[in-house]
Symmetry: C2
Subunit: 322 residues, 2 copies
């Protein structure tokens, strides 16, 4: 099967669907960040997006393209995180029933948030069941359309609208730093930046302990990582996907990694200096900047803050050395 990769045209079309629905999130600047880095830094605050992360963009863009029959039947996904909430919220707006396959040991607060948007949650045992298989089985059995969390052209194009907005809000960027889990956000943003600010480099950022995409990018061969022990729960995915791997190889300029300490430090830095709550996955780009992983001095740097759904009690325990 030959995959047709999404292009910037798909991102632009997604922006049309999202206009007036998704928030145009603000770009934040901070003098102390500029002073500390020698750069001019623009934070794209997707933590202020609906449902608390960029995921709403891709989820809504996908549901908006279903046929009437598909809408009627409903959709399914597998996610214990931001995609679940985003798809549930998009489904509620569009009148599409949403089913979410979620590990039975997912935090109660995440299940509750997803159910609060009206989705049905089906728990499963992570030890014995692969979520992709369960999702596909249920989709087939119930006639539901599967909307995976990242490896889907509609999802990727939707996420790319965050990069399109940033390029429209800030001219002449030299770098954009983007966190990378499954690669949907990174792929989509790369498509947008290549089209709108071709001189700007797009750099993906991963936790050092979950560096499968970095290794895949530099080796050209898809690499995996199993259950990495990272604070950045959105970057624990095993590997890039059928769409995101080739897109990242073609469209992205580089990949870097950051330590767990750098992630926690960046969470705290954004908390104390920018006064914004960003979850550990969402600070990956900021962590790369603050630890000097890119040569930012004198440059105009965009940094995506991808989400704000932090597990605050857990972070608080970390802060106190727990």
């Amino acid at each position: 099967m030959t995959l047709v990769l999404p292009t910037y045209r798909d991102v632009a079309a997604a922006a049309g669907r999202l206009a007036g629905v998704a928030h145009e999130t603000p770009v934040l600047t901070c003098e102390s960040v500029n002073a500390a880095t020698g750069a001019t830094v623009f934070f794209k605050a997707e933590n202020f997006q609906r449902t608390g992360s960029f995921k709403f963009r891709g989820a809504y863009n996908a549901l908006a393209q279903l046929t009437p029959a598909q809408r009627q039947q409903g959709v399914i996904t597998y996610s214990s995180g931001n995609h679940a909430q985003a798809l549930a919220a998009a489904g509620r707006r569009l009148g599409v029933a949403v089913t979410v396959v979620m590990p039975q040991d997912a935090p109660a607060v995440k299940r509750a948030a997803t159910e609060a948007y009206g989705a049905e949650v089906i728990p499963y045992d992570r030890a014995t069941v692969r979520r992709e298989v369960l999702g596909e089985t249920l989709a087939a059995g119930r006639g539901l359309t599967l909307i995976p969390p990242y490896d889907h052209p509609w999802v990727i194009a939707g996420q790319g609208t965050a990069g399109r907005e940033l390029c429209q809000q800030v001219a002449d960027l030299d770098f954009v730093l983007v966190c990378c889990g499954g690669g949907g956000l990174l792929s989509g943003i790369a498509l947008a930046v290549r089209a709108l600010q071709p001189r700007c480099q797009v750099i993906g950022v991963e936790p050092a302990v979950a560096d499968d995409a970095t290794r895949s990018f530099y080796s050209g061969v898809l690499q995996q990582v199993e259950n990495p022990d990272t604070l950045a729960d959105g970057a624990r995915s095993t590997c890039l996907g059928d769409y995101t791997f080739p897109l990242i190889c073609q469209q992205v300029d580089g990949m870097v990694t950051v330590s767990e300490t750098a992630i926690l430090d960046a969470v705290m830095f954004l908390w104390t200096r920018l006064k914004v709550v960003v979850e550990p996955t969402g600070v990956l780009g900021a962590a790369a900047l603050l630890t000097g992983q890119v040569a930012a001095a004198g440059r105009r740097v965009g940094v995506i803050l991808s989400g704000g759904n932090a597990d605050l009690p857990a972070l608080a325990r970390r802060l106190n050395g727990g």
Copy 2:
């Protein structure tokens, strides 16, 4: 001595001095807050102001009005909190030397932040020294101009620009909820709102355990509170001042109080829903709204988030029941 109270003309003049210097802070909205309260709520995010709180407005407005000789000599204040940092930052911008009298047991991070802006910090022993007396003595001895943290017409007028901005950003407000410590912010905002949206009610909010201004407002007689044990460290001031007491009596429509539990809950709510870091003093207005202290349903409500300089490790311990 007859005091000449500031008026809205002073607030408007302050806005001219602050144009292009202070941030015009954003107004945040949140669907889940509107759903929970039945109101349309507009959060004025002064936690994003320079130095992390509204205090920069009053501090800069005061320093900008000094004579050349006074600027040359320098200024002094007493504060362990946001006013110290704000005055230090304003002094650095205007080339005015700033001295701050600070308790010797003030958190090291606050002293460091103040010194990082170039101010000289003079520690004192809270058990044996009254800060007002020490400040005035040093001012006289060194020829410094005293810029107190709230009870000064220039400071009050500067703080009022936050209310002026809110009235320009959001039309037809029914209520504005404002935290109250020494009353500088509340007085200034009341002046602005009375002038620009006279139909809008201005409500001050205090911690229940530090309710001196509420008792003063309703009794018409200045009341005090000694070392109240409240999370809202900006509301621990003993009493309203010579300027702020009459202004609040004349310009404010009501005062309400909130419990310590409501304060902590509001910090967490803003953290988790708005993804913004607001310090305990800064959430007083939000706490009043969220606990139903004002009849907000169906109304357009402005809420001042006054600052974001939260002591995160301490809050983290509270979150974990410490």
